[in-house]
Symmetry: C2
């Protein structure tokens, strides 16, 4: 049914070794046979089997990608960047949605191993770092993107969350806000912790005290951001600005303000983090600390491919600079 190297060989009246050589451009082959073989491959619509060639020790040119949920715009944008660069360099990417569950992570990793992927890019949180250690022990190239596992020598690409937090605080401070609340993700998430740390640090450097009752820890869901923001806005003391640790939470805050008829940014300023498509689509559009998702994805792929080609064995941690995107959800305190 599908043409194989044997079909080509017999059709061309040469050996399979010769065909293999012309496919891979190896060895010395006369222009004449080369052309003949190419012509026949074309005519028979021959596609060399990656499967078979992988079996002989070559690569599968396939990467695994672990994300919590591709329907989350942040990860969708990262995934797009990764697939683009992967494709550019000749790799396919297998998408895996983990829902941030270690058990699913383990299942997917096992599957990817069975399929002999050349490397795995991980954008999902992992609690048990043994999972990764085991993987690394196997010598499989790994890179972490947008997540980190401290104290593990693994290639990592992240944005500087601490600086991002600082930038958010600086912006709000410059606008004259002093009563500021934070909508954070679970403190198990390293990036969220760092964003908060940068934020608080900048406040205290400005001689301001962050009021702990203004800190709300949320799930990663619009709904939860909304209910926590509602608590904030209904409290006796009301903040004049909110720092949401991601776009989803910021949207929740926006909805809470709307529900309470509190103007944004007139009565309350909201700044978020990520700069996914969501932040440009809300009303008002969100001022946000942008993660350079495209470069992050590209970099992650470049790292893993280098590591697959064994061009490098030093592990590195690349920290990208965030950037503030000022839209319309923040304004001077009045």
């Amino acid at each position: 049914m599908k043409a194989t190297i044997y079909d080509i060989a017999s059709e061309a009246g040469v050996s399979i070794a010769t065909v293999s050589k012309v496919i891979n451009g190896k060895g010395k082959i006369s222009a004449e046979t080369r052309n003949a073989v190419f012509a026949i491959m074309e005519r028979l619509d021959f596609q060399p089997s990656v499967i078979a060639s992988a079996l002989t020790g070559k690569k599968t040119f396939t990467l695994g990608l672990l994300v919590p949920d591709i329907s989350n715009p942040f990860f969708a944008e990262i995934a797009r960047a990764i697939e683009d660069q992967g494709h550019q360099l000749g790799y396919s990417v297998v998408m895996c949605n983990t829902d941030n569950k270690d058990e699913k992570v383990e299942r997917y990793i096992s599957l990817l191993l069975q399929k002999s992927v050349d490397g795995i890019i991980i954008a999902t949180g992992i609690e048990k770092k043994e999972i990764l250690e085991q993987l690394m022990a196997r010598g499989l190239p790994i890179v972490l993107i947008a997540r980190e596992l401290p104290m593990l020598a693994v290639d990592t690409v992240v944005v500087d969350d601490y600086i991002g937090g600082c930038m958010a605080a600086k912006h709000l401070l410059e606008l004259g806000h002093t009563d500021i609340a934070i909508l954070a993700e679970s403190q198990k998430v390293n990036s969220s912790r760092e964003r908060m740390r940068g934020f608080k640090q900048t406040m205290s450097e400005a001689g301001l005290l962050f009021k702990e009752q203004f800190l709300k820890i949320c799930d990663y869901k619009v709904e939860d951001g909304k209910s926590k923001a509602l608590e904030l806005l209904q409290g006796v003391e009301r903040p004049t600005a909110i720092f949401a640790c991601n776009d989803m939470l910021a949207i929740g805050a926006l909805q809470a303000a709307k529900e309470m008829n509190i103007g944004v940014p007139s009565a309350i300023s909201i700044i978020s983090f990520d700069n996914t498509i969501l932040s440009s689509v809300t009303n008002p559009p969100l001022t946000t600390i942008a993660q350079p998702m495209e470069q992050m994805g590209k970099l992650a792929v470049d790292l893993i491919v280098e590591s697959i080609k064994e061009k490098k064995q030093l592990k590195q941690r690349t920290v990208l600079w965030p950037e503030i995107v000022i839209r319309e959800s923040t304004q001077e305190k009045i």
Copy 2:
């Protein structure tokens, strides 16, 4: 390095055939040897190579998924549903972003063929239907989702776009609107054409005339929706309602109205199509015709898997019913 079936066999003092049988639960194996083999597989952390087993004629348990752009929330949500169900049934999915370009489609298909995927789910537009015909001639299972290629016997899962268009019109009509504009996608897109057709049909059945100057054909981009909506709103005759053929265009319309200080829905109603996360996040949140993305994805996978298992060879076209989700972007004409 990685344990193979040989390692297990020699460790267990049996033949590789025996090991193969216990892995696949085939043939008759004594409980004793079975347990021994299992124990050793466990101890050696053995992962059977899908590559090798695929080479012997079995499947790769991998599906290709062609989407225009995974960072578009509609396709991200579809992709999530597909990956979920695929994983459920034992299949991995390779994601491919085509940007709706036939050349990229062809490149990806060729790659997927080389990797011996068991089937391809296509959610991307294709102009040259020969591409598909060729694929089908190879006997590779294919299913189309959210796109169709008329006059081609291929499994297809779509929402009833015509009915969806009718529902949108009916809603607007019930609210008393008569001057209604349409923001459509390229007329090459079958679904957009159908939505429009249903919409116009319903209007004319109500004895209303659709004014052709109220039809704007757009790209698939927020920006374009905005500029086209702006033209509409700045015209001498201004519509009191807009039907946008997808969420992105509706967002553009929302932005246009905001820029012109036209209240939504007080001065103009906007209804959209898709019900991606975007429609719930805008202000006001969008009334929209929902596509059941989750079921569509699940169904597509079920179809392709059946077809892989050769349980079925009849091609079918499954048309799902859309549903209107009323939010706050539409109201009675005043």
